[in-house]
Symmetry: C2
Subunit: 322 residues, 2 copies
């Protein structure tokens, strides 16, 4: 994603080289186990993505750029990848980022094992840092991810889910890993506790905004931009902020039986109905407020060489979805 590539550059002259080192660590993860064992993991990691989480680790860690920081960055990306591989098992998804998923290419057993493999490699890699607080931070984030996934499945098809509950889910399934990325960067660079806390607060708010805008895009599209049809969340029974807000001005939306929404056309018609309310603007406004809060959280704790790229990332995320 070009916006993040630009932000990599904002991270300082050394950032592209550091990100390159993270990539090389990721490449070694699947290596050395023969084609049958390592290939699904290697393919997953090579498929790329925004690498936003490792970038947060590196920026929050500052220019130190030692091995511990690179390992922490790679460890966070491995967890993110593990959850994507498992999500694709759950959704029986055939494509991700235009490539076949492990589930599609190698079947469910290999995909479950590949996710587990990536999880365990992540902890193994971070264990090399010999810093228990880092392992605990990552473990807590993983724990939150699993709880978020369970909460989302539990809420499936509940059209009346409360906004508070939605926010809690976003925190668990997205914001905690963003926060952990920022905290890990601070820990690996041995920053003072107050700095780590400020960076973590930034990560939480950024993650919430990121998830909210992702949910917005699922309703607003356009498909050319997102690479997928509108309304996929609705087809999954996942109720997100746009629908929660839309219910308020169009109460009939609160009566829809989501289990009956089984066609793409039906889902897109619902998206149109949500878009006819002020809900999309409301979602954008809430995300924009979170982006502001994220930047404010950095306060006076962080020096400009760190604050500038973090503020820039927050703005780019907000813009991308505006």
């Amino acid at each position: 994603m070009s916006t993040v590539d630009e932000v990599v550059l904002l991270g300082g002259d050394g950032m592209p080289a550091l990100m390159g080192r993270v990539e090389r660590v990721l490449e070694t993860v699947g290596a050395g186990h023969g084609p049958a064992l390592g290939r699904p993991a290697s393919d997953t990691l090579a498929a790329g993505g925004k690498r936003l989480r490792p970038l947060l680790v590196l920026i929050c860690g500052g220019a130190a750029g030692d091995e511990a920081l690179v390992r922490a960055a790679a460890a966070v990306e491995l967890i993110h990848m593990a959850t994507l591989v498992h999500d694709d098992v759950v959704d029986a998804a055939l494509l991700r980022r235009g490539r076949r998923t492990v589930f599609a290419a190698d079947g469910r057993p290999a995909a479950v094992a590949t996710g587990d493999f990536l999880f365990s490699r992540s902890f193994g890699l971070l264990a090399e840092n010999d810093a228990q607080e880092q392992v605990r931070t990552l473990s807590d984030a993983c724990f939150a991810l699993a709880r978020g996934e369970l909460a989302q499945r539990h809420d499936a098809y509940r059209i009346d889910v409360a906004e508070e509950r939605y926010l809690q889910r976003c925190e668990l399934k997205t914001a905690r890993l963003f926060a952990a990325a920022c905290r890990l960067g601070a820990l690996a660079a041995r920053r003072p506790a107050a700095v780590a806390t400020a960076l973590e607060a930034y990560g939480t708010r950024l993650g919430l905004a990121f998830q909210m805008l992702d949910d917005l895009l699922d309703v607003s599209g356009p498909a050319e931009r997102t690479g997928k049809h509108r309304g996929t969340d609705l087809l999954d029974g996942t109720v997100t902020l746009p629908l929660i807000l839309a219910r308020r001005s169009d109460p009939e939306l609160g009566e829809v039986d989501l289990r009956a929404v089984t066609s793409r056309e039906h889902a897109e018609a619902l998206c149109d109905r949500i878009a006819a309310t002020p809900a999309l603007d409301g979602t954008r406004a809430r995300a924009a407020a979170l982006v502001r809060e994220a930047k404010d959280a950095l306060g006076d704790h962080v020096d400009p060489s760190v604050e500038r790229p973090l503020a820039e990332i927050a703005d780019r995320i907000a813009e991308r979805y505006a």
Copy 2:
């Protein structure tokens, strides 16, 4: 399992209380997240099982019985449980130990997330021990488990799989976690490196024997004893030692197309054919040799209060399947 209950007693007067403390740690894992989030995990943990791996941790840790040892024991069991929950997803298994699996009760999404939840809780719990070597040991074992699962799926339906390859799979998917349990006990009790190595060697051999005898039982039954029909491995396309050995005296067995084995009757007929060769005795003999090697590995490194219950466990495992 009564044999292990007896061995718990052999572990010394304090062992039942220690195992009780492990159970209480396991009970807390699913607690505090509301019924929807914690219940699948709690149910899985409450469903019991032999608790053989935590018992190994505790015995290898000796009478110390401090919190670190109890946490290590619980962490190993959490990993074991996580892999069972994920295995049930892969196999679409409805029952385990006579109870509904998470997959059956809550569906695939909840089961994938519950496995991830148990994995992350395990690392979070062990991180409290503030001992990097322990995290590394557990991570390496998890990594092996996932590689073992991938290797087994890769080998599926290959009737000509080599004995060496089979042994490698047993090591990855079973023996490494047994070895890690023994090593974690030694580490948590701060035993000398030579002792940890000896205990780990014991665990590896015990785990290999355990897996081999489990594979034997799948062919020999009887179903009344195993709680499942004979030949389930064959129906999965999993080629194990009995078939590998049977091929040698009944070469036509090496020509069977396992993909065509789709009925229970067909699988049981194949089991009968394997049983008509010396393969079951051969498997038993190999497992018995491994049990002897396990006990020998303890050598002079381990004092009798540890050696006795470990030797007893090895003998009980061998007897149970004899």
